[in-house]
């Protein structure tokens, strides 16, 4: 693999580590199987690309895209908490709805960003090549997000979200408004995914209606790879694990695509990812079953 390929894989891996952190919040901390991600990732891309193409400042556009992601998560949470729609189904409904919404936002299936400014080329110093600077900037963004998340989840409010996912009955008995906690967690999770989508569109030359397909699967795969590489219940280690997982997963894909001896072809990757995620979904259930716990 060339340095160029390596840095490219690192760049995409870092962007998807934001998705993975979002997925970690919904699937692991809140125990909310959230597929909204497949819609909120392209939503972030669509909002950012459309705004930038319309002449808005890329930073403002990225922030608005992040907020759009948060709103998507909020609605999924609301469907579940208020309308009592089963979590998985609520997120599928939102994901489907977002497909139409994203098309509406873009007004066409894709919005290219070729000559337009992006957060990357605006900040880029002369001395560095773009393919070096992009992953470098992303390292800072991802680290900042990780540290902010670690801090937030050790505050009273963040602890309430973790308690809600771990034992909702106990959380309520301690005065936690668990419905609100789910909404907050889902908003935070999908905000990160929206941010990832916005950054993805700005590194890949635009947004495309199909850019979200399989996002959740990649996010989950990253979480699983991370958890098996660095198993830990401590939050600050778990967030590192998830980031490392996203990057390692991306390198694995780059490696598989760039080497003949593994024998994997591009079309096999979805299968490999699907198997990984299946294992991820089943293992916690088996674990709960073995320890004789039941939900309430």
């Amino acid at each position: 693999m060339s340095l160029y390929t390596l840095l490219g894989a690192l760049e995409i891996g870092l962007i998807f580590s934001l998705v993975a952190l979002g997925v970690y919040i919904s699937f692991r901390l809140l125990r909310f199987p959230d597929l909204t991600v497949d819609g909120s990732f392209p939503l972030g891309g669509a909002v950012a690309a459309t705004m930038i193409a319309a002449g808005y400042d890329p930073f403002t556009s990225t922030i608005v895209a992040t907020i759009a992601g948060a709103v998507a998560g909020l609605i999924t949470g609301w469907l579940n908490v208020r309308l009592k729609i089963m979590d998985l189904l609520a997120s599928i409904l939102m994901m489907i709805a977002l497909y139409s919404i994203n098309l509406r936002i873009m007004g066409k299936p894709n919005v290219p960003l070729i000559m337009e400014p992006t957060v990357f080329n605006l900040l880029q110093p002369e001395a560095l090549a773009d393919y070096v600077f992009r992953p470098l900037l992303l390292v800072f963004v991802v680290l900042a997000v990780k540290l902010l998340l670690d801090a937030y989840f050790s505050t009273q409010s963040g602890l309430a979200i973790r308690a809600t996912g771990s034992n909702a009955r106990m959380a309520r008995a301690q005065g936690v408004n668990t419905g609100l906690a789910v909404l907050a967690g889902m908003a935070l999770s999908n905000a990160l995914v929206g941010l990832a989508g916005a950054l993805f569109a700005q590194t890949q030359g635009g947004a495309d209606i199909s850019m979200g397909v399989g996002t959740i699967v990649i996010g989950l795969a990253a979480v699983i790879v991370g958890e098996s590489l660095l198993p830990s219940r401590k939050l600050y280690l778990a967030t590192i694990a998830v980031i490392v997982g996203a990057i390692v997963y991306r390198f694995f894909i780059a490696l598989a695509l760039n080497s003949d001896f593994i024998g994997l072809q591009a079309q096999d990757l979805n299968l490999v990812t699907a198997v990984l995620v299946t294992v991820a979904l089943v293992v916690p259930k088996l674990r709960a079953h073995w320890s004789g716990k039941k939900g309430n």
């Binding site: 505050t155 973790r162 308690a163 771990s166 034992n167 106990m170 008995a173 301690q174 005065g175 716990k293």
Partner: protein, 264 residues
């Protein structure tokens, strides 16, 4: 003071499995009183406690605590006034969180949760001191996941947690039933100490007649969703376990074969 008036609750109404769990349940507990609650299986004890805590909405009747109408409030909104320890040691704590994080959650029971760190050094020292009173060595395990503790240890911590923040009512639903006899005795002793220390208004469901008479100042027996016996003071002092068993028989209209079990 708790004032529950004419509570009625029917599960699965209009179906073959319809159960009238509460049928005119009325009970007043003055501030500072420790009441023990007994009754056969299915008498409605847990349903009553759940109604008071808000986990179960009643069909009719009112629940007031210190004059505040709680009848329509959700669990989390009542938590400001009501503290609980569950029967299942796993139910009262978050196994994924550490001991100190669990205690920090309880420390903020019923209060607005903001963006300051949940476990601050001063708080940690307070938790450590509290845990030390248990004599279980837990004061050295503050950052251990609470899921690593035994049922008895978790129940003891749950009791401490219930008293970290003032409450107007403490609800204990057979909170020693899942423990081995020695641990159960330890947790009961701890209960009596904590209730006395904080002068808590307390309602404790127990399946042991002995406990029901020895602990607290008043004993209430439920049957078919209402109070059938309510004794305190000298009348209660004159009662023995066999009196309670006679009462049981009378209300159930049947013999109790397994005295040993109930005497435990």
């Amino acid at each position: 003071m708790l004032k529950a008036t004419d509570l009625r609750l029917t599960f699965n109404p209009g179906t073959p499995i319809e159960t009238q769990a509460l049928r005119g349940m009325t009970l007043e507990i003055p501030t500072g009183q420790f009441v023990t609650v007994i009754g056969s299986n299915g008498a409605g004890k847990s349903t009553f406690l759940n109604a008071v805590s808000g986990e179960q909405r009643v069909d009719s009747g009112t629940i007031e605590i210190d004059g505040i109408d709680m009848t329509r409030l959700p669990v989390w909104a009542r938590a400001r006034h009501v503290a609980r320890v569950f029967q299942d040691p796993l139910a009262g704590t978050c196994e994924d969180l550490t001991i100190e994080e669990n205690m920090a959650l309880a420390k903020m029971r019923g209060e607005r949760r903001g963006f300051s760190f949940a476990v601050k050094p001063a708080l940690r020292e307070e938790f450590r001191a509290q845990l030390a009173t248990l004599g279980l060595g837990l004061e050295n395990r503050l950052s251990d996941r609470i899921g690593l503790l035994s049922g008895g240890q978790r129940q003891a911590v749950s009791l401490l947690m219930a008293a970290l923040q003032p409450s107007r009512l403490l609800l204990l639903d057979e909170h020693t039933a899942a423990l081995d006899p020695r641990t159960a005795a330890f947790v009961l002793e701890l209960t009596v100490r904590i209730v006395a220390e904080h002068k808590l208004t307390t309602m404790m469901v127990t399946h042991s007649m002995r406990q029901a008479l020895d602990v607290g100042q008043r004993t209430v027996m439920l049957h078919q969703g209402r109070v059938v016996l309510d004794v305190a003071g000298t009348e209660r002092e004159g009662l023995d376990v066999h009196h309670l068993l006679d009462m049981f028989e009378k209300v159930r209209g049947e013999e109790i074969d397994d005295d040993a079990l109930l005497l435990g």
